[in-house]
């Protein structure tokens, strides 16, 4: 996939969700002011934001963008990467706002918390994307799995003091989830939106 196509999808989707993005960043800043200590705050809050933004990529939410992307000569995996970028960037911006609030409150661990939050966000948003094109129980199970992936990253990096293991887990979970999402997109027939 060319960088232009990746950026095109990313910019178009971020543009239509710009208000949601602004509210998410503002909310992250407020929560960061209220809960400045520890990595659990940014991990849980930003993972939940990432999951919500991933679910907002579901078919039918932005029908015009969906139709343009479905009709474009792009492979499922290319579209998966481009669509995956949107919730990840959104949740990462929120994590950055959270870290800024922590810094304002005088927390010295803000950079460390930010790095863990970014890893957890990658794992949870990528997994939640798989829920976005499913209905019923599979959708609920993927959402639970997405939250578990974020929590697992935190558990490995902070509770088990194995930072590298946490990052490795997040990278592996993101890779597998994006592959799965790409394959699902390639097989997807958009008739339920009609």
């Amino acid at each position: 996939m060319t960088l232009r196509a990746l950026a095109g999808v990313g910019i178009a989707r971020l543009y239509v969700q710009r208000r949601v993005l602004l509210y998410a960043c503002a909310a992250a800043f407020v929560v960061g002011i209220l809960q400045p200590e520890g990595a659990i705050g940014p991990v849980v809050f930003c993972s939940l934001l990432g999951i919500a933004m991933a679910l907002s990529q579901s078919p039918g939410r932005h029908p015009h963008l969906d139709r343009c992307e479905q009709g474009a000569p792009l492979f499922g995996r290319e579209l998966a990467r481009a669509k995956g970028l949107v919730p990840y960037l959104g949740a990462s911006l929120a994590a950055l706002c959270y870290a800024s609030a922590q810094t304002v409150r005088g927390s010295h661990d803000a950079p460390f918390d930010l790095v863990i939050a970014l890893a957890a966000v990658a794992a949870s948003t990528s997994t939640a994307l798989c829920a976005s094109i499913r209905r019923g129980w599979p959708r609920i199970l993927y959402i639970l799995l997405a939250f578990t992936a974020g929590t697992m990253t935190y558990a490995l990096a902070v509770t088990a003091h194995a930072l590298l293991a946490g990052f490795a887990f997040a990278a592996l979970a993101s890779f597998l989830a994006l592959r799965q999402y790409g394959e699902a997109l390639a097989r997807y027939d958009p008739v339920e939106e009609l």
């Binding site: 232009r4 178009a12 015009h64 139709r67 009709g71 000569p73 008739v191 009609l194």
Partner: protein, 193 residues
């Protein structure tokens, strides 16, 4: 060789069904297909543009099978959806650049082409004009129109002159509007068996 070949092509799944449809659309030809239900018309348009794969039968777009060569099909056929897009005239450049990015086309070239098309579609509401312009940015050989607005039929057909056009309609009156002269119609509507 037909640009679009459908042989008993039908779709079943997700609580929807359509077809079977059998037809051929040759380069430069125009064909309008009247189908009873709007949903079925949409599914047939999606099948004809390679976005939905047929459950039974065969669809070939420029001899490419959407089930295994979906990307090639989408380079040949472009869909103009029925739903108007909620964009304003001020978002024209952003929209064209986005469509150009999806089709991996140089944005300046796409924009120049799109501005010419917009001039030809002057008077057409942007909600209907933008999707049509966006579909033509990729220079498709075949344009598939999903239940296009009959009120804009002369303008749409004038812009699409020389290209193969396949349109689906919920009623035969709308289908007739897309086969009407003075643009030398060379197709005909069919109802699926």
């Amino acid at each position: 060789m037909p640009l679009l070949r459908m042989r008993n092509a039908s779709f079943e799944g997700g609580g929807a069904s359509a077809g079977p449809v059998t037809l051929d659309v040759y380069p430069g030809e125009r064909m309008a297909l009247a189908i009873g239900s709007a949903r079925e018309a949409s599914i047939v348009a999606l099948m004809a543009s390679g976005i939905v794969k047929p459950s039974h039968g065969l669809v070939l777009i420029d001899d490419f099978d959407p089930r295994i060569q979906s990307i090639n099909c989408k380079r040949v056929a472009a869909l103009v959806p029925h739903e108007p897009c909620g964009l304003s005239e001020s978002e024209f450049v952003r929209y064209v650049v986005y469509r150009a990015a999806l089709w991996k086309i140089e944005p300046r070239r796409a924009l120049a082409h799109a501005q010419l098309l917009r001039k030809r579609l002057r008077g057409m509401h942007e909600a209907f004009a933008f999707p049509l312009i966006g579909a033509l940015v990729g220079m498709p050989k075949l344009v598939v129109l999903d239940r296009p607005a009959a009120a804009y039929a002369p303008q749409i057909l004038a812009v699409l002159e020389g290209r193969a056009v396949f349109s689906t309609h919920a009623g035969s009156a709308e289908a007739r509007a897309f086969l009407a002269p003075p643009f030398a119609a060379s197709g005909h509507g069919r109802t699926p068996a």
